[in-house]
């Protein structure tokens, strides 16, 4: 099977080419800035949260990075159904692989934060439960892939599964928790950080943090994809 690494590149890909360095440095600088400014700049003085409000700069960007990676995955899954290209399929898998790391980090940091604000690591809060389920959905995606040996079939079935898993993940993370009472900000009767807590001082750190971690996540995905395409070439030879 002949695989051309230099395939067609979309507009975004031309700007964020995997082998370019500038966006990796940019992402690194943003993440380091987040660590410094996130700990030193002023934050609103709120009861219960106290200093732990700074976790917003580290816990939430994990989820943003995960969602961006899963979006990349579903994009390439749809693309692979029409293009039947193995590269698109590999991109879909590797972005899920990278996204799951960020999802797990988000879940663990969320549990630790919950311990000191809600009282328990796991209080079976709707947001926590649904976040865990949405990660399980993607574990199922990987297991489904591994259970099919034939490449064409594997690409097609897992792409279709992914197209169903993505809206499920969106519903589980953003719709269902809002319908129930949840301790997590932004759900149930609980106001989100956006309403009054996230003041201009926090925005100065929060937005760069999200962008920085998304770029780092994309970087991890690109490394995984490049390794996989080399492995794939070796197998084909």
């Amino acid at each position: 099977m002949v695989i051309g690494i230099e395939g067609k590149h979309s507009l975004i890909q031309n700007y964020i080419r995997m082998n370019k360095t500038w966006w990796k440095i940019f992402g690194s600088v943003l993440v380091i800035y987040t660590a410094i400014a996130g700990l030193l700049l002023g934050v609103p003085r709120l009861p219960i949260l106290n200093e732990s409000i700074r976790n917003l700069y580290f816990h939430v960007p994990m989820w943003f990075a995960m969602i961006v990676l899963f979006s990349i995955s579903v994009f390439y899954s749809i693309k692979s159904l029409s293009s039947k290209s193995e590269i698109d399929d590999m991109k879909a898998v590797e972005s899920v692989n990278a996204g799951i790391i960020f999802g797990l980090l988000g879940l663990v940091t969320g549990a630790i934060w919950a311990k000191y604000t809600w009282g328990q690591f796991w209080s079976f809060d709707p947001k926590q439960n649904f976040a865990a389920i949405s990660i399980l959905l993607y574990f199922a995606y990987l297991i489904l892939r591994n259970s099919i040996d034939e490449e064409q079939k594997r690409a097609k079935i897992s792409a279709i599964y992914n197209i169903f898993a993505f809206p499920m993940m969106v519903v589980l993370l953003f719709v269902l928790p809002r319908l129930k009472d949840s301790l997590h900000p932004g759900n149930g009767g609980n106001p989100g950080f956006n309403s009054y807590d996230l003041d201009s001082r926090m925005r100065m750190v929060f937005y760069p943090a999200c962008l920085g971690w998304i770029l780092i996540g994309y970087w991890v995905y690109s490394i995984r994809f490049r390794i996989r395409s080399i492995e794939n070439k070796q197998q084909a030879n």
């Binding site: 030193l40 003085r45 490394i223 070439k233």
Partner: protein, 72 residues
């Protein structure tokens, strides 16, 4: 470079002065001690180390990608 770094640190140190005390307990003692900078330094060292490691992985991968076409 040292001057710039020093002025940035001083700038961050003054930011806390704007914080208003409304009775909610924050880690003000840690900040006034200046020990928060120890924490920040550690976190930054870890992050820089991990990111440098990522860059080195990326460099090695680029090398492998480059030598691939000649072999085939």
């Amino acid at each position: 470079m040292k001057k710039i770094l020093f002025s940035i640190i001083l700038m961050f140190a003054t930011v806390q002065l704007f914080a208003q005390d409304n009775g909610v307990e924050m880690a003000d003692k840690l900040r006034s001690d200046g020990k928060i900078y120890v924490v920040v330094t550690c976190i930054v060292i870890i992050l820089v180390g991990l990111l440098a490691y990522l860059f080195s992985i990326d460099k090695r991968l680029k090398k492998i990608e480059k030598e691939k076409p000649t072999k085939n």
